[in-house]
């Protein structure tokens, strides 16, 4: 089964060179793990857009903040990424509440389209402010955290244990969020609000508190994605907007407002980036990824009028 899978991948990419076989599979695995982190990042953004109609351009900067906080915490104590994720959750929840007061509350009286533009500009402002604060706080050096974890063998393939655990954690976070939205009262309120705000208000749902909780949850996801990302790859203090853009494109490709689509699209983006870096140069990765996403937008979304 696994061999036929290998042969399919190798044939699909026109590779028959025996020496390159393990590399392709490793790239596939690495892409999946990176995709897991992208999925976590994108699901948070999709949640915020689906419930509040807010395209939060500071989402990636919050991920960078997560990475910086984790790096700083390592000076105090060698926390594992998963322990620190649990400890950082309340901090990101509070940050989400504060962000709500800055980029959502002031625009509640605007029409939907005006509100989207205003919150987009405000969140871009927050992203710029955070970028400078990050440079001031920790300098220009890339944020990279190291955590030692064993690698294990599975069907003669080397699986990096840390990446597998992080991907598992990303999947658990997405799963818990889906359960929260489906099974809890607050989650149901969020879903009701995303469908019809006025009717939801008539049923006693407080739109302010509910959307604040949604942004809090989205911020937690961004923070966790940043912590996980910094363990895998170094992050620059000004990489927030790049991360946001990737997450935005994942959300657009996967469908705004739902959680399953962006999760799948995130995994695909991770694979796409890994393979683009493998077959072409590392610098051409972004060009290929963004070009494909634009083509997707033009072909798929251009037909569906908003």
């Amino acid at each position: 089964m696994l061999n036929s899978g290998r042969i399919f991948i190798l044939t699909a990419f026109g590779l028959s060179d025996v020496k390159r076989r393990p590399s392709v599979i490793q790239v596939l695995i690495s892409g999946l793990f990176l995709g897991g982190v992208y999925a976590l990042l994108a699901v948070g953004l999709s949640l915020a857009f689906g419930i509040m109609g807010v395209l939060n351009l500071a989402h990636g900067s919050l991920a960078v903040l997560g990475a910086i906080l984790y790096k700083k915490s390592l000076v105090l104590h060698p926390f594992s990424p998963w322990i620190f994720s649990v400890l950082a959750t309340p901090i990101f929840l509070c940050l989400g509440f504060i962000l709500h007061l800055i980029i959502v509350t002031p625009f509640r009286n605007l029409s939907l389209s005006e509100g989207v533009v205003a919150s987009l500009i405000a969140s871009l402002g927050v992203a710029f402010i955070l970028e400078d604060l990050f440079v001031w706080w920790q300098g220009w050096e890339p944020i990279s955290t190291y955590f030692s974890f064993p690698t294990f063998n599975l069907f003669n393939l080397k699986i990096p244990g840390l990446r597998a655990v992080l991907m598992g954690m990303a999947a658990i976070t997405i799963g818990l969020s889906t359960l929260f939205l489906k099974k809890t009262d607050r989650g149901r309120s969020m879903r009701a609000l995303s469908q019809d705000q006025e009717t939801a208000s008539l049923y006693g749902i407080n739109p302010g508190i509910t959307s604040m909780s949604a942004l809090g949850l989205a911020t937690i996801m961004a923070g966790l994605a940043g912590i996980f990302y910094s363990v895998l790859y170094p992050l620059g203090p000004r990489d927030g907007l790049d991360l946001t853009l990737k997450a935005l494109f994942i959300v657009v490709a996967g469908g705004m407002g739902n959680l399953r689509g962006p999760a799948v699209a995130g995994l695909l983006l991770g694979l796409l980036e890994s393979f683009a870096g493998f077959f072409f140069t590392y610098t051409s990765t972004d060009t290929i990824v963004y070009s494909l996403l634009i083509v997707y937008l033009v072909l798929k979304r251009g037909r569906r009028r908003q």
């Binding site: 395209l55 800055i102 980029i103 002031p106 625009f107 009286n109 605007l110 389209s113 005006e114 989207v116 533009v117 205003a118 919150s119 987009l120 500009i121 405000a122 871009l124 402002g125 927050v126 992203a127 710029f128 402010i129 955070l130 970028e131 400078d132 604060l133 440079v135 001031w136 907007l241 853009l245 935005l248 494109f249 657009v252 140069t281 610098t283 051409s284 972004d286 060009t287 963004y290 070009s291 996403l293 634009i294 937008l297 033009v298 979304r301 251009g302 037909r303 569906r304 009028r305 908003q306």
Partner: protein
């Protein structure tokens, strides 16, 4: 158009043209030139922005395209005017392909796609090192004097402003407004919405690409970050939105405000200029929010002269 508005507009444009001719060297020369370039970008951004409601986050794509086409033509041995004509033609073809592809997208998706196009061009100009000079950028020798550059830029601003007024008053401008109100309804009454969008976006793209080539001609250097600049795109967006005045006066006054603020930020607050630019963005967004609330409206009315 009211008389006071025409007079005010003439004073602003006249002052910019005279300053362009008078101050070509030194700090003031650079300031006037950046005012004019920001003006061209904001007014050209406003053409589809106001009539079609399309928010482009990648308007600087055309700016960078013009600059790089011009720079490559000069390095290939062309003189100023042939290079200018060639780069305008090449940028127009590039802009036509981009606008044709993106014209079918709805508002939110259009904004995202324009941002994506900006990043693709930025990365391409970094990757194609032999042609574009890579991350370090492209350096060209001086092709025309700074004074001529300023004067050409000032006339381009006048032409863009005239294009804005003429377009908004033309049949196509009315078609655009109808398309913005409801694309389906516009199509039902026989308006070719796709053509309208493409025409409007093309009218907006060409002045931006010419601004890019004039910028390179004056500064002799363009890099992926300065050519395909997100900050330039955002400045154009902000300038066209920040002043709630109708017609062309809004983006022109917006440019005066934003360029002045940027000048203070980039020169006086080293290390925190992004943060201060971010504060301006926040302020602009909050101002929109305040305008929409009843308490905010009452507050604004109190400060308006002659309004009871």
């Amino acid at each position: 158009m009211k008389i006071w508005r025409i007079s005010f507009l003439t004073v602003i444009l006249g002052a910019l043209v005279i300053s362009a001719a008078y101050f070509s060297e030194g700090y003031l020369g650079i300031l006037v030139f950046s005012l004019i370039i920001n003006g061209i970008m904001a007014v050209s951004f406003d053409i589809p922005g106001r009539s079609l409601g399309l928010i482009s986050l990648g308007h600087a794509t055309f700016f960078g395209m013009g600059a790089y086409c011009f720079g490559i033509s000069i390095t290939q041995g062309f003189t100023f005017f042939p290079a200018l004509i060639l780069s305008v033609l090449l940028s127009a073809v590039g802009a036509f392909i981009i606008t044709l592809l993106l014209a079918g997208l709805g508002h939110g998706y259009y904004s995202l796609a324009t941002l994506g196009v900006l990043i693709v061009f930025q990365r391409l100009s970094e990757t194609l090192e032999s042609l574009t000079g890579g991350s370090a950028g492209l350096y060209i020798p001086e092709t025309i004097s700074k004074l001529h550059c300023n004067i050409l830029a000032a006339f381009l601003l006048l032409a863009t402003a005239a294009g804005h007024v003429l377009y908004s008053r033309s049949r196509w401008g009315l078609y655009s407004k109808e398309t913005e109100a409801s694309e389906e309804a516009a199509e039902a009454i026989g308006i070719p919405t796709r053509k309208v969008k493409t025409a409007s976006l093309m009218i907006s793209a060409i002045p931006a690409s010419m601004a890019g080539l004039l910028h390179l001609a004056r500064t002799s250097h363009v890099s992926p970050v300065s050519g395909f600049s997100l900050t330039l795109s955002i400045t154009a967006l902000l300038a066209s939105r920040i002043v709630p005045a109708r017609g062309i006066l809004g983006p022109l006054l917006g440019v005066l405000l934003i360029t002045a603020a940027e000048e203070v930020i980039w020169t006086k607050f080293e290390g925190f200029n992004h943060a201060l630019f971010g504060l301006i963005l926040l302020g602009a967004a909050w101002y929109q929010g305040v305008q929409s609330s009843e308490a905010g409206l009452n507050l604004i009315k109190k400060f308006r002269v002659g309004e009871k």
